[in-house]
Amino acid sequence: MSGQTEAKLVYMANQIARNLVHEPHPAAALADHLHAFWTPAMLRQIFAHLAAHGEDGLDPIARTALAELAAGHAPPPQTKATDPAHHGADAG
């Protein structure tokens, strides 16, 4: 591991957090987003990195969201874009 990827994952989590601050539940929204779009391997990679290097560089929203995910809590969908049960989205 070069560490570059882990740094990029931290950057991405922070960037997503900055764009979700106006959601009713920002940390839940971020957790939902990461759960919907990141692979389990990417999540494991960032968990391991944070465990080894600390969470200093992490946005507080991201810190809460990642803690929830690390604890194995699958977040409820926050938007239609992440709602797997929403079959009808493009079914007209």
Partner: protein, 950 residues
């Protein structure tokens, strides 16, 4: 079909609620009120001689050949300019009419070469046909007098000639340029006998004029005065097949006119619902790449990328690829493999690639090049409206009163729709352009934007917030629409946010660089000007807040009630021909076809039952994540169909490092592209002319792609993917793409009613096509949003982390140009390079002067990612502090400079904002020289003296 020209009804179709019945030559004919006598005669099976009339141009009444007699009407009126009336009795044939028409034709022919047998239009010439129709047998005037028979031919355009000796000055070409294309490059110069068609000013030829080579004039010409060079060289076509263009997301349909197995010309199909009979220089003329000598027709393999390629049999290549992929899966797990679906390939091909990845490789690591263009559209519109697609059909623009174009340059990027938009603007629609550059739409003949908001790159969200601020604080919200159609609580939350002073145009002016009064004026116009339609492109999506910008656009449309009817809507202008389709087909790593998340057990169960395999419930890797994982040693094998990620994706050095770290890269393409430098297996691809399938355009229109010639490599692309799947152990037995579409329809609710028989019968279908919408859906969200209530999302402006500073003080934004397409793999192998032989850097005069740079100088373009060199063009099309270039040429590799910053929600790269410095240069950079040498090495083919030129 055998060869015959498409029927020409002489004058355009008229839409009217009332019908008129008249009598033509004793036959009763009923047509819409306002129809001309000429068209009424034609639609009833009759034929009136004509020369200056054609049904995609307004009636002109010039040639006097279409004269008729009408009971109770004096003289012999021109049928092309005479509207029908109830009870009218028309006579199209009489001794008097015959005499008059022969007289007219006699005059035309007296100044026309009598070389029909050797003319390229012989037996395909309206003048010849009409001379026969009027029974012309001799010319009493002789041929000795003054004439135009010594006029020079203008052969400057690479695709067509203008032979003035054949010109009858009917003005059809001039009117086509004016009315259809909207460029107004042609004119009739001088008067009377001296009248002649002229491109540009007198010193111009076609090439140096403003002509954009759309071909409308050639199509309109009734003689061989304007004629495709290919027809002159090859001969008259023998048959025609209707198919769909493989360039941009407009999805023009063409008649591919063939002589044997040779394509003679592509003629826009008048019945095409996307293009309505028009074309651009790419679709009309730039198809020569399909037969280019650079095509690789034999499979090739190599053990490592420093070796030369070795040509092998299909069996050996597929076996080599399969064994490598199986070995990777055995050693590193299924998630070390992945695939990339092409937006240039058909729906059926894309569906098979993602099926191969999911069912064969056993992973969801599949992505598509929409990742780097319109993935934010999918996210943003699904979140707000419930559907990952645009809301309108192209015809909708005909009813727009205000057109807001943001981050799009349709006259270059989507030229055929750009022409339709300009036609509506010439009719009086108002225009708002939000773009850092002064694009052609801002000011061109008979079109001028009411407001041009020249924002700083990267501040889209701030400008949209400012527009929303004005709409909310000045009471311009369509409250009735919002209360009925949207979530009211979410609206209020959004309205409170945008109403804050920090979102006012005045507060944001220092951020956006747009004067507050322009923002206020534009907001008022959009909100109160009638039907308001928003069109946007990659200038919206390719930002770190691409998804936020899409949602901010959706917010504006909902707040003003501009959704759910003709003339309004939110319209993403898709980049490549099948971006919409590739996304629809389940090419994203988190979604199965129809945008259903892989974590949904019910959806997975459908696919598992159909495919007989388990589908991974976890999302897979996106393209940039694949490359990251590769450099970490976790991702080892990639199957890439029809994409060139090394040239098209950002931060080239990182892409190269990722590819170089893989054990097996399979490139399936027409050419040895830049990505193939890092490939171990090359599978030859087939062009759009060599395959059956469907493309889906930007208006969700599914259109047939039809094989007009046999694949030069022996196989259509879907067959190659099927063979690779078989080599991987899958039991696939498709015999035709229609069977793949049937499977798509079984598994995808929005495609449930789609099949080839319907597409053949109806020409095209716009999804959703299912029990709810059996005839398809030209316009979405008519009675309610697909998601239920429209969702307002607060989109706070978050500045990009890409900042200018002392080292990199300028902002680079990238884009495309009319004559070239994407990475240029197709258009660079055509004569289109006449117009754009290299990428150039646009720089403002002030910035150029500060650096001692003149137009034509070599300059070094450097960012924190890398540097390249190219020539400069000094122009005030760009604002001070902003530079612009295209990414069509690998010799430039503009993406060496772009960074790895991307959209927060989708990782769509931030192509549009890179901090750079420009300095004078002597020539290519060290990187460019190294890359050129490496490319020569990578393209060696063992036993072949030929090195494909690039």
């Amino acid at each position: 079909m055998g060869y015959e020209r498409q029927a020409d009804f002489g004058t355009p179709e008229v839409r009217s609620d009332s019908q008129v019945t008249l009598e033509i030559d004793g036959r009763a004919v009923t047509v819409p009120a306002g129809t001309t006598v000429m068209r009424a005669a034609a639609v009833s099976g009759g034929s009136i001689p004509k020369l200056c009339a054609t049904d995609n141009l307004k009636q002109f009444g010039s040639c006097r050949l279409c004269l008729v007699e009408i009971d109770g009407m004096r003289g012999t009126p021109a049928s092309c300019t005479t509207p029908v009336a109830d009870g009218m009795k028309v006579h199209t044939q009489s001794e008097k009419l015959a005499r008059l028409r022969r007289g007219v034709m006699e005059l035309y022919i007296s100044d026309h070469p009598l070389d029909c047998l050797t003319c390229s239009a012989n037996n395909d010439c309206e003048l010849q046909d009409q001379a026969a129709a009027v029974g012309l047998r001799d010319v009493r005037y002789g041929y000795e007098g003054a004439n135009h028979l010594e006029a020079q031919t203008d052969a400057s355009n690479p695709y067509f000639d203008f032979d003035a000796t054949k010109c009858i000055v009917c003005s059809r070409c001039v009117r086509a340029c004016d009315e259809v294309q909207g460029t107004l490059a042609l004119t009739v110069e001088s008067r009377g006998f001296d009248s002649q068609i002229s491109a540009g000013v007198k010193s111009d030829d076609f090439l140096s004029s403003e002509c954009v080579s759309c071909g409308a004039c050639v199509q309109a010409c009734p003689t061989s005065a304007l004629m495709e060079k290919a027809v002159t060289e090859i001969g008259k076509p023998e048959r025609a097949v209707v198919t769909t263009c493989a360039y941009c997301g407009v999805g023009c349909t063409f008649r591919a006119e063939m002589r044997g197995e040779q394509l003679v010309r592509m003629v826009p199909w008048k019945d095409g619902k996307a293009n309505r009979g028009h074309s651009c220089v790419k679709g009309r003329f730039a198809w020569g790449y399909a037969q280019h000598q650079d095509r690789i027709l034999k499979p090739m393999v190599r053990d490592s990328i420093d070796q030369p390629w070795r040509e092998v049999s299909w069996d050996e290549a597929l076996g080599f690829a399969a064994s490598r992929f199986k070995a990777i899966a055995a050693s590193h797990g299924n998630n070390a493999l992945g695939g990339i679906v092409s937006s240039r390939c058909t729906n059926e091909e894309g569906f098979l690639v993602q099926k191969l990845v999911r069912a064969g490789f056993g992973t969801n690591n599949v992505d598509t090049c929409a990742r780097v263009c319109h993935s934010p559209t999918g996210y943003g519109l699904k979140t707000t409206f419930g559907t990952s697609a645009g809301t309108q059909d192209f015809d909708s623009v005909e009813d727009s009163d205000v057109i807001l174009v943001i981050g799009a340059n349709p006259t270059d990027g989507h030229p055929v729709f750009g022409s339709r938009m300009k036609r509506r603007l010439r009719q009086g629609a108002r225009l708002i352009v939000i773009d850092p550059r002064r694009t052609d739409l801002v000011r061109s003949p008979h079109v001028e934007a009411d407001y041009h908001l020249p924002l700083r790159p990267g501040t889209n969200v701030a400008v949209l917030s400012a527009l929303a601020h004005v709409i909310v604080t000045e009471g311009l919200v369509n409250e009735a629409f919002v209360r009925e159609r949207c979530d009211w609580d979410e609206f209020q939350h959004w309205a409170e946010f945008v109403a804050q002073e920090r979102n006012s145009p005045e507060f944001l002016e220092p951020v956006t660089g747009v004067p507050a009064d322009l923002v206020r004026g534009a907001a008022r116009l959009y909100a109160t000007g009638g039907n308001g339609a928003i069109y946007y492109g990659l200038g919206v999506t390719e930002h770190s807040q691409g998804s936020s910008t899409v949602m901010a656009i959706a917010n504006l449309a909902m707040a003003t009630g501009n959704i759910g009817r003709r003339g309004v809507g939110v319209n993403p202008l898709r980049g490549q021909n099948n971006v919409q389709g590739a996304c629809d087909m389940g090419s994203f790593p988190h979604e199965l076809s129809g945008y259903r998340h892989v974590s949904d057990a019910a959806t997975r169960a459908l696919f598992e039952a159909e495919w007989g395999v388990r589908i991974d419930p976890e999302p897979g890797l996106r393209i940039p994540n694949m490359l990251d994982a590769a450099t970490d040693g976790l991702f080892k094998g990639l199957y890439i169909q029809g994409e060139d990620i090394l040239q098209s994706d950002p931060d080239t050095k990182h892409v190269a490092a990722g590819l170089a770290a893989m054990d097996c890269v399979i490139v399936h393409d027409l050419f040895l592209n830049e990505t193939a430098n890092y490939a171990h297996v090359f599978l030859p691809g087939s062009s759009f002319l060599e395959k059956d399938g469907t493309f889906t355009n930007a208006e969700r229109r599914i259109q047939p792609v039809r094989k007009v010639m046999e694949p030069l490599n022996g196989y259509q692309d879907w067959e190659v993917t099927q063979e690779l799947a078989r080599a991987m152990g899958l039991d696939w037995n498709y015999t035709h793409p229609s069977e793949i579409m049937d499977e798509i329809a079984r598994l995808t609710p929005s495609f449930a009613g789609v099949n080839y028989a319907r597409l053949d019968a109806e020409g095209s279908l716009q999804w959703p096509v299912n029990d709810t919408a059996p005839d398809g859906s030209p316009i979405m969200h008519v009675d309610g949003f697909v998601r239920g209530k429209g969702k307002f999302v607060v989109t706070d402006y978050v500045p990009t982390d890409e900042r200018t500073g002392p080292r990199f003080p300028l902002l680079l934004t990238t884009g495309r140009i009319l004559s070239q397409y994407n990475v240029g793999a197709q258009t660079r192998r055509t004569e289109n390079s006449v117009w754009h032989a290299e990428d150039v850097l646009e720089i403002h005069p002030t910035d150029a002067e500060n650096r001692g740079i003149n137009s034509g100088d070599w300059v070094r373009l450097a960012s924190r990612s890398g540097e390249t060199t190219l020539r400069a063009t000094v122009t005030d099309r760009v604002a001070p502090g902003v530079v612009y270039t295209t990414f069509h040429h690998p010799a430039t590799q503009a993406n060496v400079v772009t960074t790895d910053y991307s959209d927060w929600a989708t990782n769509c790269p931030e192509y549009k904002v890179t901090a750079v410095q420009i300095t004078p240069s002597n020539g290519p950079s060290e990187w460019q020289e190294d890359y050129a040498a490496q490319t020569r090495q990578a393209r060696r083919i063992a036993g072949s003296a030929m090195e494909p030129a690039e």
